[in-house]
Amino acid sequence: MTQLIQTIVLGLLLGGVYALLASGLTLIFGVMDVINVAQGALIILAAFMTWAMWSETGLDPLLGVLVVTPAMFLIGFGIYMATVRWIQGKPPSTSVILTFGLALVIEGVMGMVWTATLHRSTPSYFDESFRIGDIYLRKGQVYGCAIAVGVLAILYVILRVTWLGRAIRAVSANMSSARLVGVNPSTVAALTFAVGVATAGAGGSIASVLYPFLPASHYQWISRLLGIIVLGGMGSLPGAIVGALLLGVAETMTQIYISPQWATMVPWAVILIVLLVRPQGLMGQKLREDVAL
């Protein structure tokens, strides 16, 4: 019984971290129809920046979030202005190719600056756990989940309360009508992209504590994140959270009760099953193709 509870706890904690990493990806898709394959590389970039600050100044990676997130916002804005805005309105597949190219460029730049060696922030708590009876909770993951809750709350407030949020929702609902009421879709898209990339800043900071990383580590993240947002419904923030938690639990349950050998297959199996059974995902809106019918 303890083992079962421990497995679920491990899965939920893992899922919380996944939710943090997936939120920006789903936000960018929901508003812009852009599948940002470079999100994984941007997370690793944020991890490197966090690590560099931690190793140079001893700044705790959790505080590093406060520095790295605004920096990633600016980087996101720059990337949008330099590249993504040229393909706005083109089919999403165009964005896959563009952002994959971006991911490779970011990987190359990271390799040049930090070399292709393994890095990790190791503050004192990196391998410690909180204990409740026989159950343990890895501190890094608990903090990661707390940051996830914070980031998701801020995103919720931005989307529901601010002018930007209303504009984002307006653009995502109907771009031409939004333009009629004075919303400039390209400004909104630039800010959305920047906010989405900023979440990679928060995610990358905590990821730098949890798992060691190299420039090429982004591949292992992007596959999971795509699985999560397909499961949750592409573009749906609550869907991404539910999808992340489900995937986290599915992964740990598979590792313990079936075999570790099958665990890395879980995200891919999820994508396949969801696409066959419920293409819009758990909480996604109807597919555009359905609406057109």
Binding site: V105, H119, F126, P260
Partner: protein, 424 residues
């Protein structure tokens, strides 16, 4: 129109970025192009005539970028030392090194290109069993001697190849022989009762764990956990909690590289379970990268097997160390030493035969003779598998020490049992 102007303005910037990405990870003195990288030397010594061209493809980018780069450095140091002392058969040596991006398909393309287009005179191997398995098949078909620095999977040597030679001391199933013997020989009371085995689904990692399991079971140690995981596994928390629940005395991990080994240690530490003896394949040999990633206090007492140690009293090692330190300003990692040793093996065969024209004569000589390398003396059976034994190493006080065999030991104690993790 304005758009087009902008695009044109942006093009050089993008181009520069892409070019920069092409030579990522290269911060040493050798200039690098994108794909093939021909490093001619400025001679020295008395080497003259047409250079002897030696081709290799290495994983300079991708998953094995780290060891691939180390192997490249080993090859280059060897080339410079040979050229400084008069060349090979009096001719200068030139290495043609391609980047296979850690890709099994690309490595095949690369070796075909080295043989057919670049028409190199000799070949050296790539890094890892995963890449050497397909690459060695290309060399075998072309009937060219293929000495590889890292790739001890049994799958390398069960194909009846004649031109393949592995330039380390033993194959994967025998990597941990000294560890298994030592554990099995512990006095009653200290001898472990149970063990857990966790191995990457990797042609090298899995046989290492299987080899230990076989030998420890024969010594009466009960197996309480034995699982295989995909090498790309990142999250080991559930695996560690499962292992911890079995409370094994020994944990042996057949890790595929650095990351999977590091992630298991951190997960075990978070789970608060420390075994009495812990063995990992290859991971602990990554020196500072390993101790930085798991925390240096967590390294204490962890066993692993190595082919090379900087203080090894082997012939030629002081000269290699001097040249390597002068060029790269650091101690050579094991993978660089293995690359150097592979090149030494090829050199010995060429010098003994006295010609590079007859590859069959080179392989016949290697099958019949042994070669002195910086890893010690190496000899091969008819499959190209080496017949010696690895050194057993252990992390002690933040340093890597050789503990067995006694004649090669750099420390006279063995830390046993392993102290608890820092986070536990």
């Amino acid at each position: 129109m304005r758009r087009i102007v902008w695009l044109l303005a942006l093009l050089p910037v993008l181009l520069a970025l892409v070019l920069a990405a092409g030579c990522g990870g290269d911060d040493d003195d050798e200039g690098d192009g994108g794909g093939a990288d021909t490093t001619a030397t400025d001679g020295g010594g008395e080497a003259s005539g047409d250079p002897i061209r030696i081709g290799a493809s290495l994983p300079l980018t991708g998953d094995f970028a780290e060891p691939g780069e180390a192997a490249r450095r080993g090859y280059e140091v060897w080339m410079e030392m040979v050229n400084d002392s008069g060349g090979l058969l009096g001719r200068p040596v030139e290495m043609v090194i391609k980047d296979d991006q850690s890709d099994q398909n690309l490595v095949v393309t690369d070796y075909n290109a080295l043989i057919d287009q670049d028409q190199v005179d000799l070949l050296l191997g790539t890094f890892s069993s995963l890449l050497n398995i397909p690459a060695s098949a290309v060399a075998e078909r072309a009937q060219m001697v293929y000495v590889e620095p890292a790739g001890g999977s049994p799958d390398m040597f069960n194909r009846g190849f004649e031109y393949l030679f592995f330039a380390q001391q033993a194959t994967a199933p025998h990597q941990a022989d000294l560890f298994s013997e030592w554990v099995g020989g512990l006095p009653e009371g200290e001898k472990p009762a149970t063990a857990a085995y966790i191995a990457a689904d990797d042609p090298f990692g899995a046989p290492v764990a299987e080899g230990i399991q076989e030998q420890l079971e024969a010594a009466g140690v009960e197996t309480v956990y034995s699982e295989i995981y995909p090498p790309e596994t990142v999250n080991f928390d559930a695996i560690a909690s499962d292992i911890a629940a079995q409370k094994p005395d020994v944990i042996a991990q057949g890790s595929a590289g650095l990351q999977d080994g590091v992630n298991l240690i951190t997960a075990l530490s978070a789970a608060g379970y420390s075994p009495k003896q812990m063995f990992q394949a290859s991971t602990p040999s990554f020196a500072d990268q390993y101790s930085d990633a798991i925390g240096v206090e967590n390294t204490e007492g962890i066993f692993y097997a190595v082919s090379y140690h900087v203080d090894a009293p082997t012939p030629g090692n002081p000269e290699f160390l001097e040249a390597y330190r002068a060029k790269f300003n650091e101690d050579p990692p094991e993978d660089a030493a293995d690359g150097y040793a592979a090149a030494q093996v090829l050199q010995a065969a060429v010098e003994a035969v006295g010609s590079i024209d007859d590859q069959a004569a080179l392989k016949d000589w290697l099958h019949e003779n042994s070669v002195e390398t910086i890893l010690g003396e190496l000899s091969w059976d008819e499959t190209g598998a080496p017949e010696q034994a690895f050194l057993l190493a252990q992390w002690q006080n933040g340093d890597e020490e050789i503990v067995l065999p006694e004649e090669a030991a750099t420390s006279d104690t063995i830390v046993n049992p392993k102290p608890p993790w820092s986070g536990g």
